[in-house]
Symmetry: C2
Subunit: 257 residues, 2 copies
């Protein structure tokens, strides 16, 4: 452990902000579990080698098993005095290649990846083709058969605003307010995939995947477009669509004010 | 097994041409091995269910373990009378998702995927960045550090033509002519990756990976640009660069006249 020049006191802890990407295919999710590799435990173990002792990492979004991240944000308070570029290189040399630290920056002391987050953006990738590519299968939901894009676009637009998202929250989630504000909710095409991208001030457990499952049921004609708006008035989980599978989902970005 | 309408004779065998894509990450390569899933064995098992008996599949390129294909071509003679679109759907319902049949067409009786092939195109993907993306890691060779693009481009261009490629053939390959003709050999950028693409009338075992390993050594300044041309005059394997790892390589396309 390095100490400030000339000082004999314990080193000042710093708050570090990490931007992290991961392929969640073989991970148990963000949060530490009894068994399996979580992003949190992998990062804590890698950081502990620099700190010379245990550290606690907070993540902006608690992604589930199989969900990916292009720009997850984590915060940690550490006394180690390594410069940030050394940390980036050293962490990536230690971590498995499914997890990459894209950047490390020194933040305000009170920065907390989750509590300080203003907006999060998630993306969900659908392969709406007869034969799914073997190269993207770990990152898409394969949905063959016709989907009505206009119906799905209308339903996606209805999600924007402040609503009671109970219908899109996994059953058994601990009680807290189910009200969230969605700033943007849209569908577009990218490289042959149908993409749903949503930005909000926060997301309930399984919320994006339940929205996507509902949009696909709208696209298939199994449910009316107008049903989405009705679901956003606090309907129970059972009335919305099935939860889309995890591998199509990625946490794209976390914004701070 | 269906029979021609009105006939009592044994059904006529047809020669089918299959175009196949695969993620080779967990496969032992094209060719059947004592243990592990090969593309050949997976296709033969899937086709045997339609034929009601064993079939033999020939592939245009015998890709190694870990190598991918966007457009491998296979040929098979079968008596089953299913229409080709039923075969595409049925095969993809049976095969693991790492192997996808993109098309099935009825060919000339004497069509043979390997012997009839006129040109093959391979692509090799290099991530020349400090931090490799966790999403493409199964399909790239991560080469951090500076690479001289002009030097690599000159060396790549020298590969075009008819040469003795002994220096780029894996040691211990059964004796046959090491002379091959390369029609195109170039480097370009695509989606943040450095791509090497080569088209030739045929390729020796490990030839593309040995060329790429040599190009990277040229790019790093470990070997002179001019050395590539010298290697193409029948130099021994030991004088060329190391064999690049398999996961960066894909068989892109096979052309027939």
């Amino acid at each position: 452990v390095s100490r400030p020049a000339g000082g004999g006191d314990a080193p000042e802890p710093r708050t570090l902000k990490l931007v992290v990407a991961y392929d969640g295919t073989s991970l148990v999710g963000w949060q530490r579990q009894a068994a399996g590799d979580s992003v949190q435990s992998l990062l804590e173990e890698a950081l502990a080698r620099f700190e010379g002792g245990p550290v606690t990492v907070h993540g902006a979004g608690r992604t589930d098993a199989g969900v990916h991240a292009l720009g997850q944000v984590a915060s940690v308070r550490m006394t180690c005095a390594h410069d940030t570029s050394t940390l980036v290189r050293g962490l990536n040399a230690t971590l498995p290649t499914c997890v990459r630290v894209l950047s490390v920056d020194v933040s305000r002391a009170d920065f907390h990846a989750r509590l300080s987050a203003a907006r999060k953006t998630y993306r969900y990738q659908i392969a709406n083709v007869q034969t799914a590519s073997p190269f993207t299968r770990a990152f898409v939901w394969h949905v063959p058969g016709p989907l009505s894009r206009p119906a799905m676009e209308q339903a996606a637009a209805a999600v924007v605003g402040t609503h009671d998202f109970s219908a899109f929250q996994s059953v058994g989630t601990p009680t807290r307010s189910p009200v969230r504000t969605v700033f943007s909710s849209r569908l577009f095409d990218d490289a042959g995939l149908l993409i749903y991208e949503v930005t909000g001030d926060g997301f309930l457990r399984h919320m994006v995947r339940a929205i996507v499952g509902t949009l696909v049921e709208v696209g298939r004609g199994w449910r009316a477009v107008a049903s989405t708006a009705e679901l956003l008035r606090g309907a129970p989980r059972s009335q919305a669509g099935a939860t889309a599978p995890p591998q199509g989902l990625s946490l794209v970005r976390v914004d701070y004010d």
